[in-house]
């Protein structure tokens, strides 16, 4: 469950990344966040896991009151989420395997379980052969798939993905979409910011359209553009 009440994020210099956002996303929903470049999609997403703090308003994610969360609680909030960052954020000195494993190690999983799960998930995104490569040794699309693998590795209750197919060709994007819809059908909430209009139009889900920090459309089963 994700709930925003009148959330404002002021970056200073008159830039409102979020301008009185009020929205509720229930457990198990699949939500696209669309809008032009610089509209505030990433800001909306970053507010959920507290990469940026809200200037005012209230944010609730599962049982956390994110707008007044303590420094100590933040890691535990994030462990309930799987996050695909727009810029991937892979650890440069860890191999692909280790990058994915890291997200499982922080929650103190047993090494055997970690290894099994990582191999399983890397196979799913088609990167088994790149397990021992470092992030700077693989292609942009491969990096993006590693970021996705890491986010879904520990079967989060909520998956937050910022532009997860920006560096992927249509076929691979379709693959990824299949994976996301599968985990969604298992009960995981999916929030996905995207520019991929084909995807939004072909796989219909709830669409939140943001422009200049405001939600200007909230349409169940809508297309990429309002018609």
């Amino acid at each position: 469950m994700i709930e925003f009440k009148n959330v404002v994020k002021d970056y200073g210099n008159e830039v409102l990344g979020a301008d009185h956002l009020t929205v509720k996303i229930n457990q198990g929903e699949f939500v696209y966040v669309v809008g032009p470049s610089g509209a505030g999609k990433s800001t909306f997403i970053k507010l959920m896991y507290h990469e940026v703090g809200a200037t005012s308003g209230e944010i609730r994610v599962n049982n956390y009151n994110v707008s007044s969360i303590t420094n100590k609680e933040i890691p535990f909030l994030r462990r309930e989420l799987g996050i695909v960052f727009q810029d991937f954020k892979l650890l440069p000195r860890l191999t692909i395997f280790e990058n994915v494993a890291y997200a499982l190690q922080v929650i103190e999983k047993k090494p055997e379980d970690v290894e099994k799960r990582v191999n399983e998930i890397l196979a799913e995104v088609g990167l088994t052969e790149k397990a021992q490569s470092f992030p700077n040794e693989i292609s942009g699309g491969e990096q993006q798939r590693v970021a996705i693998a890491r986010a879904i590795a520990n079967r989060p209750g909520i998956l937050i993905a910022d532009e997860p197919t920006g560096n992927l060709d249509p076929d691979t994007s379709e693959e990824i979409m299949r994976i996301l819809e599968k985990i969604n059908s298992d009960g995981t909430t999916v929030v996905m910011a995207t520019h991929n209009s084909n995807m939004v139009n072909e796989h219909k889900h709830r669409v939140l359209e943001i422009s200049a920090g405001k939600i200007i459309r909230d349409q169940e089963g809508g297309g990429y553009e309002d018609e």
Partner: protein
């Protein structure tokens, strides 16, 4: 922290050390050079201090023998002196030799008094085990027959005393300054390596690692850096001190001065270097990270 996690942190810290390549090399090199400086300077300063102590705590009693004492009586006196509690050994210096010392140190005009004009006395130089024994030895000796006078408290020139105590004071000041500098430089170097990894730290936080989970591998990395950085200084100090000790001790044999003996001194200084390296490395890492981990994101 579970045993599993701790083991993971250990391997992780060593792996990071290896993967950081040049950064690690540069950090270890900085620690090495800093500790080498500390090791060499402290060895010198502590020995200067030791020698200054030796000079000031001269364990020597000078027993002046009456002029008319026969050679046999002198021998008897020596035996009696040797029996006093706390006496270590006794050496003899004739009045002629004593005058030569004066001439050597104070000028040729004293030559006038050579031969029978020599105003000085034959002297037994009695070394005691402890400085405090000198008082008792001197008092006892003074009561014996054929003893003209017994003096304790160093025979060296006062000038020397002043210089020595000056050196000692400066030595202590410089040692303390040096230790501060070493602590600062090592922790600062570790800080530089961590500053350049801010980005990694923030990613770790973003994927759900707690502060302590993030911190430990860095702390261990700091400790390794300190440990590896202390190896070369320890080896250099150990070998070169052993060698210096042999060379210098030879020329100090005839004096009451001595260098610190290697087998105790080196253990201490090795420990000090390792502790500074490892301790400050780990502490420096732990503290440097505070700032990045406190950020609320």
């Amino acid at each position: 922290m579970s045993k599993l996690t701790f083991k993971r942190h250990i391997t992780e810290s060593l792996r990071n050390l290896k993967r950081n390549g040049w950064m690690t090399t540069a950090a270890i090199a900085a620690v090495t050079v800093t500790l080498l400086l500390v090791g060499v300077l402290l060895s010198v300063l502590l020995n200067v201090n030791k020698i200054a102590n030796d000079v000031q705590n001269d364990v020597e009693v000078r027993v002046f023998i009456d002029r008319k004492t026969s050679s046999q009586e002198q021998q008897d006196l020596k035996k009696k002196l040797a029996k006093i509690d706390g006496v270590d050994n006794i050496s003899y210096s004739s009045r002629k030799k004593e005058l030569n010392n004066v001439v050597g140190a104070y000028g040729k005009e004293f030559r006038l008094f050579s031969g029978d004009d020599n105003p000085l006395y034959d002297v037994y130089i009695v070394k005691t085990n402890e400085p405090k024994d000198t008082i008792n030895v001197a008092k006892t000796a003074e009561k014996y027959q054929h003893v003209y006078q017994a003096q304790y408290g160093g025979a060296s020139a006062k000038k020397l005393f002043n210089i020595v105590s000056g050196i000692r004071r400066w030595g202590v000041i410089i040692s303390i300054l040096l230790l501060f500098v070493a602590v600062f430089l090592i922790s600062n170097t570790i800080r530089l390596t961590i500053l350049s990894r801010q980005n990694e730290i923030s990613i770790m936080r973003l994927v759900g690692a707690t502060n302590s989970y993030i911190r430990w591998p860095f702390i261990l990395e700091g400790a390794w850096t300190g440990l590896f950085g202390s190896i070369i200084p320890i080896l250099i100090v150990d070998f070169s001190y052993g060698w210096m000790y042999k060379v210098i001790s030879g020329s100090l044999r005839s004096t009451n001065m001595a260098l610190l003996t290697p087998h105790t001194f080196l253990v201490e200084i090795d420990l000090l270097l390792a502790v500074i390296g490892i301790g400050i490395g780990a502490l420096g890492a732990g503290l440097s990270m505070g700032r990045f981990l406190k950020l609320k994101n």
